[in-house]
């Protein structure tokens, strides 16, 4: 994770650092897209801050994407793509989760749209969200074994 000085000037990063400096694990920028890596215990409080702070106003959660970095640890990665309609700006929040304990707090209470995104990630990657109102399989049948989007799950299915 490279931290260049001009990223520190970024108002979004400055805001987050000012809110809780210990929450930020790193920042990066690739092709003009800003990524802020945060520690998982700060995710939900930060979500509340991101939506309520008038300078940020990230009211629109576009997407939540899970990535499996197997065999690298921490194995799982969650990307929250936020959009501020009033400021016309975007940011990506990233949380890393260890393979033996892929759990994080749900953000459904902050952005209701996260409901289905989190269910889909639970369904396909096996990441659990604490406090989710209805965490069960979504695209796959209820009795399906394994999590297809994990890298140790073959494309042809389990044998």
């Amino acid at each position: 994770m490279t931290e260049t000085p001009d990223l520190e000037q970024n108002p979004i990063i400055a805001k987050i650092r000012g809110w809780r400096p210990e929450a930020v694990a790193g920042v990066s920028s690739f092709r003009g897209e800003l990524t802020v890596v945060i520690y998982r215990e700060h995710l939900r409080p930060l979500a509340e801050f991101m939506i309520s702070d008038p300078d940020l106003a990230f009211t629109f959660l576009s997407d939540v994407t899970g990535v499996d970095r197997f065999p690298i640890e921490p194995r799982f990665e969650l990307n929250y793509h936020l959009l501020s309609l009033s400021k016309r700006q975007t940011v990506r929040l990233r949380v890393r989760l260890p393979g033996e304990d892929p759990v994080t707090e749900s953000v459904v209470s902050v952005w209701p749209t996260a409901n289905w995104h989190e269910r889909e990630i639970f369904d396909l990657l096996g990441i659990r969200f604490e406090g989710h109102p209805n965490l069960r399989r979504m695209l796959l049948p209820d009795d399906w074994e394994g999590y297809p989007l994990r890298k140790d799950y073959p494309v042809e299915g389990p044998r």
Binding site: F30, L61, S62, D63, R92, P112, T113, L139, L140, L149
Partner: protein, 398 residues
């Protein structure tokens, strides 16, 4: 039959299983409706019947091969899917596409938008009992499909946009066909509006039905015309212009009522705006010029060169055997598909295959709002609410 205990005493409710095979669910959508008489108390949406694991499949294909599976998600707007994916890969590669290709992309995606809205209008109308609109809409859509067939060779699974530009030069005289559409379609739109806009039955079935407030719509992540019908002007083409959309002059139709009628008016107005963009694109597209970026190793060389030049043959061979490897990193590319914000998240690990491809599909997110729209209302209104969200199940289940 389940018994629900209420404050006034035991009350009988009935669970009605709507779908997965039901004409008004526009695919295979299952909705469990808990009813008290004709009123919906609770609606539970069940999806996944069309899940084919497109995101997983993409991880086993090279970047160029994966274009073909993007067609199969939103089968009513394959070109929009192609565009979202190609733009994401191009962003990953930091590749500039020639202006001519960009304008042709804009033109074709706007025609796709009209085609998709026509299917929506036709099916929405037939759900609510207006048969003739359906026939008219499909008549017009046929002309659009002929254009797609003309340029790409395929009516639906086009895969016409490729990484770095277009698959091939469009045939001679194709703009005349588009010109004809630009000239004839406005009167056709008038025809639909004559049939519906002031039709008392249509107004009765859509006005005040499936109301979604701006606040709820944003909280549920709703995008596209469904969001703009609730008075939020979010349109990716205006907010984060891509593929030279900032050079086009068009309006974003918006209504504040948030009901099915408002969304209907938004979409019809949007078709007219799309036609405006098509007209501008026709003027902008230079008659000659490259439709593919000059990027050896990424864009396949011309057939002639491949047969005569050694270097071109090597590139050709390498592209089709091992592919090309973008630098490691992640990108999130949004576009405005006919249904809303369609985004492609690509993670590259520096290998020739996408490490992770994720499609943020508007139908998937928009469908979440259904529960809020139907609970407390009549069963008949649920049909209108499903129709007005303009969902495509192939895109929801992926």
């Amino acid at each position: 039959m389940t018994t629900v205990q209420t404050a006034t005493g035991p009350e009988q409710t009935m669970v009605l299983n709507m779908g997965p095979q039901h004409p008004s669910t526009h695919g295979v959508l299952r909705v469990l409706l808990e009813l008290d008489g004709e009123n919906i108390i609770k609606a539970d949406v069940d999806i996944g019947y069309l899940h084919t694991g497109i995101e997983k499949t993409a991880e086993a294909l090279t970047y160029s091969q994966a274009i073909t599976i993007t067609d199969r998600m939103d089968y009513l707007a394959p070109l929009s899917n192609n565009l979202a994916y190609c733009l994401a890969v191009e962003k990953l590669l930091d590749l500039e596409v020639p202006k001519r290709a960009q304008y042709i992309r804009v033109l074709l995606t706007e025609l796709t938008r009209i085609g998709s809205h026509l299917v929506w209008l036709g099916t929405h109308a037939i759900d609510l009992g207006a048969m003739s609109v359906f026939l008219y809409c499909f008549r017009e859509r046929e002309e659009l499909l002929k254009i797609f067939e003309l340029v790409s060779g395929q009516r639906m699974m086009t895969s016409y946009f490729r990484i770095g530009g277009l698959a091939l030069e469009p045939p001679v005289g194709w703009t005349d066909r588009v010109q004809k559409i630009v000239q004839t379609f406005p009167s056709r739109f008038d025809e639909y509006e004559e049939l519906l806009t002031k039709n008392r039955i249509w107004i009765g079935r859509t006005q005040g039905v499936g109301v979604l407030s701006a606040q709820d719509a944003i909280a549920m992540g709703v995008s596209g015309p469904s969001l703009r019908g609730s008075g939020v002007d979010y349109d990716v083409r205006k907010y984060f212009p891509y593929s030279s959309y900032d050079e086009f002059d068009f309006q974003v139709p918006m209504r504040s009522e948030g009901d099915c009628y408002a969304r209907y008016l938004c979409r019809v107005a949007e078709m007219r705006e799309s036609l405006k963009i098509v007209r501008q694109a026709l003027e902008k597209i230079p008659p000659e010029g490259p439709v593919k970026a000059d990027a050896p190793g990424i864009v396949p060389p011309q057939r002639e060169k491949m047969k005569t030049e050694m270097e071109a043959l090597i590139y050709h061979f390498k592209i089709f055997t091992e592919g090309f490897a973008p630098p490691p990193g992640e990108v999130y590319q949004r576009i405005e598909s006919p249904r809303g914000e369609l985004a492609c998240f690509l993670a590259s690990d520096g290998s020739p295959k996408p490490y992770r491809m994720r499609m943020r599909t508007p139908s998937f997110v928009n469908l979440q709002a259904l529960q809020k729209m139907v609970e407390g209302h009549l069963v008949a209104d649920a049909i209108a609410s499903i129709g007005t969200l303009d969902i495509v199940l192939g895109e929801i289940d992926r």
